[in-house]
């Protein structure tokens, strides 16, 4: 498989290690109420689709970036890849991102 690294172009999948569903980006707040329930879902429950899947790959033998790759788990077609950091920052509030004001 070839992964289309957003900065480096197509790279051999053997340079990467795979973590799983990109939902791992949305870590619940550990100090919130009912954190236990939220973490149970976060740690154990997955959609596991046969089809388009957003997933986390680590470019271990490369630039050590984490990527969110959109891949069809049935055909292996890869529809896109972005830096996980960018995806994670997008879902933060401005204050959390450290933006001024």
């Amino acid at each position: 498989m070839l992964i289309p690294h957003p900065l480096l172009g197509l790279r051999d999948a053997q340079e990467f290690s795979y973590l799983g569903d990109a939902s791992l980006l949305d870590r619940p707040d550990g100090l919130a109420e009912k954190a236990g329930d939220a973490f149970f879902s976060y740690v154990y429950l997955r959609e596991n689709p046969a089809g388009v899947h957003r997933e986390l790959w680590f470019h271990e033998q490369g630039d050590r970036s984490w990527l969110v790759v959109t891949r069809n788990t049935v055909t292996h077609e890869i529809l896109g890849a972005e830096l996980a950091r960018d995806v994670a920052l997008r879902s933060r509030s401005p204050r959390e991102r450290g933006d001024p004001a």
Partner: protein
């Protein structure tokens, strides 16, 4: 000067060399390395006259060289400065950056061809899964070589460098030597 004697990554007193056909393989024991990462809010520094290169690139000036290793991260090379506190020197030039000594983290091997780029391309085809056409002079990347993570730098059309974990220097040398000895004069 400390009164301890250093040894090379391959465990010798001097750099190891191999000459076969048009190819020369040499352990580069005098290469200083420091990793450089931007902190938040820092502006990208200009180091000794070079603009830090973008993804996949390697840049050279009179004193130092640098290659991109990740978003906002580079590796700085200082030839013949392996004994110095290279990280401190680089840190002084790069305020607001995180700099870490890496000289002894890596074993560096230089491979030069005396017959143009053909032997280099033949060798790369056996070592790494990199399209040589998209890896001209001034390119650098990290990739896998015989199950080890290495940096590959195309310093010139006829000259590449391989940087890998110092502890695996013997395994890296073995892989390079094995394939260099097998390069025959055949059309690539």
């Amino acid at each position: 000067m400390p009164d301890l004697k250093p040894i090379t990554a391959l465990g010798g007193d001097t750099a190891r060399r191999l000459h076969h056909g048009a190819l020369e393989l040499e352990e580069n024991t005098e290469l200083a390395l420091a990793s450089l990462a931007l902190r938040r809010g820092a502006t990208q520094p200009t180091l000794c006259g070079i603009d830090l290169p973008g993804p996949g690139a390697w840049a050279l000036s009179d004193e130092i060289a640098a290659f991109w290793t990740g978003p906002d991260q580079w590796m700085v090379e200082g030839q013949n400065r392996a004994d110095s506190d290279f990280a401190s020197e680089v840190a002084a030039l790069c305020p607001g950056c995180s700099v870490t000594q890496q000289t002894d983290g890596f074993a560096a091997f230089e491979i030069r061809s005396s017959a143009g780029e053909t032997p280099i391309l033949q060798l790369m085809a056996k070592l790494v899964n990199i399209d040589p056409i998209r890896f001209p002079s001034g390119s650098a990347t990290r990739t896998g070589l015989e199950h080890m993570s290495v940096f590959v730098i195309r310093r010139a059309a006829h000259h590449i460098a391989i940087l890998g974990m110092r502890s695996a220097a013997g395994s890296i040398w073995h892989a390079l030597e094995k394939h260099i000895l097998r390069i025959e004069d055949r059309k690539p």
